[in-house]
């Protein structure tokens, strides 16, 4: 599966709210594909990834 974009430093390009939400949901932000410009991970991406994960678990 596609992964989040990272900068050469290895830091995932994600907005702060998405990082926070991913942590709260126990998700690894680096696994979440970003839909924002330049692959930026946004809150919606974390939510839909979480839903997708949830439905896979079920």
């Amino acid at each position: 599966p596609p992964r989040a974009a990272t900068n050469p430093y290895g830091r995932v390009i994600a907005v702060p709210a998405a990082r926070k939400l991913a942590r709260e949901l126990g998700l690894d932000i680096a696994q979440i594909p970003g839909s924002g410009p330049g692959g930026r991970v946004r809150v919606e991406d974390v939510r839909s990834y979480a839903e997708h994960q949830g439905s896979r678990v079920e």
């Binding site: 907005v15 702060p16 709210a17 926070k20 924002g36 946004r42 809150v43």
Partner: protein, 464 residues
Amino acid sequence: MSTVYDVIVIGTGPGGYHAAIRAAQLGKRVLAVEAEYVGGVCLNVGCIPTKALLHAAEELEGVKHGASFGLEVKDAKIDLKKLGSWRDGIVKRLTGGVSQLFKGNKVELKTGFAKFVGPKTIEVAGERIEGKTFIIATGSEPNTLPGFEVDQKDIVDSTGALRVEDKFPKRMLCIGGGAIGLEFAQVYKRMGAEVTVIEFMGQILPAADPETAGLLAKILTKQGIAIKTHTKGVKVERKKDGLHVTLEDVKTGKQEVIVVDKILVATGRRPRGKGLGLEAIGVKVDERGYIPTNEKMETNVPGIYAIGDVTRPPLLAHKAMKEGLVAAENAAGGNAVMDYQIPNVVYTSPEWAAVGLTEEEATQAGYKVKVGKFPLSASGRAMTLDATDGLIKLIGDAETDLLLGAHLVAPSASDLIAEMALAIEMGATVTDIGLTVHAHPTLSEGIMEAAENLHKQAIHIANR
């Protein structure tokens, strides 16, 4: 008449000079035509000279205000000749700079009033010039007000109000409580005049967020400026002891007379498209005189663009600039659209600034609105600046948490609003703003705290 320019820009205000330079940067052969002064209203008699006067007035006020922290000064005054030449020096540097930039970017400049004489031809000072595309950037001029005819002596518009070489009047009336009226009101007040501002609508800055506009009114009143809303000027009589102005409360019809020495008419501006020969080439002008365009800034006639004050409100320099860039990129064969948020600033001290939606606009647009606030009275930085009058107010969408708008009364609000404009352009959530580390002690921390307050987790205030 051999040269055919790729792009001809009519008017060199902020809209026009941005358009001309960008088109040239994109490799186009560009001519700019200017009837009066390079730089337009903004540089010559608008944004820039007003800010110069406001700064001087603020420094003068600072000298007095400084008593709170022990500053002791005797006989502070301003030499108006020096002030005038300082202000003019800035204008000269900037307009000279634009001319230099034209040269550096190979934009040709012609002086004279441009008029369309054919679909692809203008006439300037008797000369016919051809272009492939045109960008109309002819700006705006002050509205007139019946009964208050501007003579630039007793009754002035903003351009007349800038001329203060001899002395400031004792008593001043500003008709119009918009940005221009309020900025001059503060300058004149701080320079020693007794100032009254009247505004027809129910609040100063009628389109603004009522809470921050109301707060600004309260602060200006505290500074000694009399503000009368729901009030119009009816007539003026010149008598020995001054100008007797009849004011009317537009709700009750009650009239009163005030006596002043100078009147500023600042009741808005109107687009300047007359004499351009637009009819001849079929460019549509609406009933208010604006030249409508699509989002590419193109008028109903392909290849003819219109930007800035002449096309639509808000009449702001940075709106004109951005429209200029958009038009230039399209004229150069690109594909740009004007879909940006336009911040709005009033340069009084404290400043007022806003970007995005007000609470009311957001509610009407169907959002479930959440509001976060932070009063500057709780800001350590504001305390050390001796400037705790102010409020930071953020509007967020309860469902998506997106930032919808920001409304500020604060020192440096003009610069603080930049973060908010970027936030809206980036689609930032209120959480994003709250989580971003803001340096301590700063005024911008107040933005972070307002964001946190929206989520009821600000640190420095009770989160009601």
